[in-house]
């Protein structure tokens, strides 16, 4: 954990084409969109489950840190994933 890291105030929201949900039959989170589906791996699923249009990136990071205390510093992974997610239009920033 690095105290020098600045707060990231950007607030991600789910892209309007996508629906995010837990799929019991696949034991995974998925993104559903017109006639398609992306099955998410565990960390991607955990991150997106915190994207609610309220939390900013720092708040999401803090929440994950609390949920997975043994995981170490997650902020890089989270930022990287959110970048990919934005390129795919899965999320946008408010």
């Amino acid at each position: 954990m690095n105290a020098a890291v600045k707060t990231d105030f950007r607030v991600p929201v789910l892209g309007s084409l996508f629906r995010f949900q837990w799929e019991p039959a696949q034991q995974a989170y998925v993104l559903l969109y017109p006639e398609g589906m992306v099955k998410l791996n565990e960390s991607a699923g955990e991150i997106l489950s915190l994207v609610d249009g309220q939390r900013n990136v720092s708040a999401i990071t803090a929440a994950l840190r609390e949920k997975f205390p043994q995981a170490g510093d997650l902020s890089r992974d989270i930022t990287e994933f959110l970048e990919v997610a934005r390129e795919q239009h899965w999320i946008d920033y408010r």
């Binding site: 629906r19 039959a25 589906m37 992306v38 239009h89």
Partner: protein
């Protein structure tokens, strides 16, 4: 209208487990349709099939398939809007957790009904077009008012906040207007655009001479589509253009529905369950949801097990080192063209029947009078039912 769900195939395929779950349920609610598209994928003898499933029977199908893992549900037909219980079916499906897709020609749709579907939880509407040009569109749909109505509906779908897919079936008569088609889609605010040549089964096979574009037409259309992709991307437009070429210009076949009985489950208006919407043409007995559970149909029926694995293959597929890749190609195409459903798909250059594909390509180069189109309607369907 009818769709093959081809965009899904690729996305879902990456996720599938060995011997998959029925992730994609296509509910063909009715064969009734106010249009008469000459490339409709409904069976040629559709006028001759049994009574439609009731509301409760459909809901039971949705529940069972959802338990087996289905996540995408397409409401198709015929024209699904003809079903008066569509709102109820959407609501039930949404409650079960499906992503719900309505695949429609837009004919018979109103702003009020679009709003009612939204209320019921509908996720997405796909509107199918025949061409960007009013006259060609109307000729192909067999209806004068169709085109204006579609434009109106597409605008309304976007105005009410749905994601929108526009589907243009491309063929000889409209593929040269691909630039205008794309511009129309951009103007209408589509999120995805499917530019797909029809698969030549069913009605399209009857009309293949009228529909199959030439290689030069195709190459031009693909080049123009690529140019638009770049321009639109540079402008920051997130629209996605999906261009699907007909396998008639390939030397290897496409894999059957990402594997026969691997991902797709189609239920037809009378309850017959199929591994794909065309499979009904095959001389195989397919199970019916009125008699068997979806679980039994998917895992244990002869119809669904028929082309799983590769024991059924004959030469040249049996000893072919590429058989894992395409699984011998499309069974319906093999049957339709060679009369043998176990044969290699004639699209394959290794097939002894490949000359049939080459002959169709040559025929696409020739002129054919437009009067020869066979429209999909009940009268023509009865002719097929009698002779078939």
């Amino acid at each position: 209208m009818n769709s093959t769900g081809s965009t899904t195939a690729n996305t879902l395929a990456r996720e599938q487990k060995p011997h998959g779950q029925p992730l994609w349920l296509l509910a063909e609610l009715t064969y009734k349709c106010p249009l008469q598209c000459p490339y409709c994928s409904n069976p040629l003898d559709f006028a001759d099939t049994g009574a439609e499933l009731t509301t409760d029977e459909w809901i039971s199908v949705f529940r069972q398939a959802r338990e087996m893992g289905a996540a995408q549900l397409g409401f198709s037909g015929g024209e699904p809007l003809v079903r008066q219980d569509l709102e109820q079916l959407i609501a039930e499906a949404r409650k079960l957790g499906y992503y719900t897709n309505l695949i429609t020609s837009g004919i018979g749709l109103s702003a009020e009904r679009i709003a009612a579907f939204r209320e019921a939880g509908l996720d997405h509407i796909q509107v199918s077009f025949q061409a960007s040009d009013e006259e060609v569109n109307n000729m192909l749909a067999g209806s004068k008012k169709a085109f204006q109505q579609k434009l109106k509906i597409a605008r309304e779908v976007k105005a009410q906040g749905y994601p929108m897919v526009l589907n243009f079936v491309t063929h000889k008569h409209n593929i040269d207007q691909i630039d205008r088609i794309i511009e129309l889609c951009v103007e209408l605010g589509a999120d995805y655009v499917e530019l797909a040549t029809c698969q030549y089964y069913g009605w399209a096979y009857e009309n293949r001479e009228q529909l199959l574009p030439t290689r030069a037409q195709l190459e031009r259309a693909e080049r123009i589509t690529n140019e638009y992709r770049e321009t639109l991307k540079a402008e920051g437009n997130p629209i996605r253009l999906i261009f699907v070429t007909p396998d008639y210009y390939e030397e290897r076949p496409k894999k059957c529905m990402n594997g026969w009985g691997e991902i797709f489950l189609t239920v037809t208006p009378d309850g017959t369950a199929l591994p794909c919407h065309s499979a009904r043409m095959l001389p195989i007995e397919f199970p019916n949801v009125k008699q068997q559970s979806i679980e039994a149909i998917w895992n244990a029926s002869n119809g669904f097990n028929h082309f799983r694995g590769d024991e059924w293959m004959q030469e040249p597929c049996r000893s072919c080192d590429e058989k894992e890749k395409d699984h011998g190609g499309c069974r319906c195409q093999a049957y339709l063209m060679t009369g043998d459903m176990n044969a290699a798909d004639p699209v394959c250059a290794k097939s002894p029947d490949h000359h049939l594909i080459e002959a169709a390509r040559a025929s696409a180069e020739a002129e054919h009078p437009a009067t020869a189109i066979t429209y999909r309607n009940e009268r023509n369907s009865r002719v097929f039912a009698r002779s078939g």
